[in-house]
Amino acid sequence: MTGGGGAITLNGAGASAPNPLYQRWFADYNKVDPNVQISYQSVGSGAGVKQFIEQTVDFGASDDPLKDADRGKYPSARGAGPVQIPTTGIFVVFAYNLDGVENLKLSRESYCGIVDGSIKTWNDPKLTKENPDAKLPDTPITFAYRSDGSGTTAVFTKHLVKSCPNWKGGSGKSVEWPTGTGAKGNEGVTAQIQQASGTIGYTEFSYAKENALKVATLQNKAGEFITPSPEAAEKALVGVEPDKNLVVSVPDPEQKDAYPIVSLTYLLLYEQYPDSAKADALKKMVNWALKDGKAAVAELGYIPLPDEIATKVVTQLDTIKVASK
């Protein structure tokens, strides 16, 4: 039942934003190489980074790149430093549940107001002005956020810091929210929105897509209203150079037609593995995912990794020590 002699089991934990993609990748890869079983737990980026540093997993995952403080705690037994690999692009949408309101448009002022609690009801003058055709009710707005430490929260709040002058919460994987309900994982926030009318919250696009939630059109830095789509989100990554840790940071993209809340998501690997079979399996899997996993990226609504970054990932992978075979 455990798979017999040659089986390699890899345990990973972390970000929930790419979880649907990772589950798909790992299940598909298990068909390609039945000897490799990868179990991934969507526990949130915060837990992913912590478990990675405490070496309780074979790999971690986070939407928020490792901070210097995290790098400082990297266990020296596992080599010089972490190997941080971007896998795909994600983008965060405002998903909502409000009967009869289809294409909600939110200006910067409006979504900042919803998040900081200054806009309390759906028929707030700001919202009615921007959505003259929608029948906005006088019911309260419930804002749904992440209760666990979340890379999605980090991506979202980094954008808020840039775009909302009144935002006081700072940015990070878990912040102090002035209003709303906390739920665990992108799954939890999505479920919360789905179950209660009048709720709006931030989730990774694929969750909204898969569960047929309505998503709001947002105003970007250039002032344009952009309907969320992988194509619009991809534009935010155009021409942006990754740093030496392969981090791409676009908290508030300038491009005229780019969707405003975009990031990459990362796998966290060790430079050295005590079990070389594991290192080998991980390397092969990531290489496979970058090439053959692209169909799943498009199908689930993620942003494909730009080619120049993908090439760099392949070189980065080589820093992982693998036993010569």
């Binding site: 455990t2 798979g3 179990s39 939890g188």
Partner: protein
Amino acid sequence: MTSQDFSLSSGRSLKRSQMSFKTLFSNVMTGIAFACAIIALIPLVALLYYLLINGFARLGPQLFTQLPPPPYQPTSPQFNTGGFGNAFIGTLMTVGIASAISIPFGVFASIFLSEFARDTKLADSINFFTNVLSGVPSIVMGVFAYGAIVLTTKSYSAMAAGVALAVLMLPTIVRTATEALESVPKELRQAAFGLGATNYQTILGVVLPAAIPGIITGVMLGVARAAGETAPVIFTALFNNFWNLDPWKPTATLSALVFNFAGTPYKNWQQLAWSAALVLVALVLIANILSRWITQRKR
């Protein structure tokens, strides 16, 4: 006023009290008590009703032979596939480890309490510690096992969850086993000593066997509680999407599966959560009924 009233009335005529305040009061109170019972029954019956309705929707052998599926929409042809066989095994494994630790621990401790230290200050303080331990929130035990096992072995594991659950079961086992041992008649011990048996021979050969039904009752109650506990398991066993029989690796359990899947938007996962809850409740009820049956047979 009333007390004088009724002493007079009851002394003279029994019939006069029919329309009295006392009768009225009795009827009103009876009504309130029954209303309470009905109010209490509504949520409890509703819980069982929804558990059965939603849990049975997917009940079948595939639940115990298949692995948890990826999320599927109801329109997918694979919507009804998948199960939680690994979580079922994982629950048996974690509870098994917990029992293997807590039963000998608890039984030996209770032998000390009932046979060697009965009615001493030391026994009093151990009993106090046992009571306090049973009041420690289960999540704190998870935190403890995380620090003690997960961080030192550098892996989430069924073993870590087993340790947390063992601490949880321990007070129940100590209490019931001590009670059972203490209720073994003195004459049995005296007879054994009289035959020349030593302390340990008397206790292991005579007293312990006589107390076994009581001890099993306690063990069953402990098992029932441990099987359903979630808080100490989510930090320790984590979860696993695959089959796992290695006690030192992350392991899926039914209770963690219910927690993980209940909070998701996916219909097939929600249904699996209901089925897992039904299986969990069935396990708990079976353990409880067994313990009751053993107690009744003893009597």
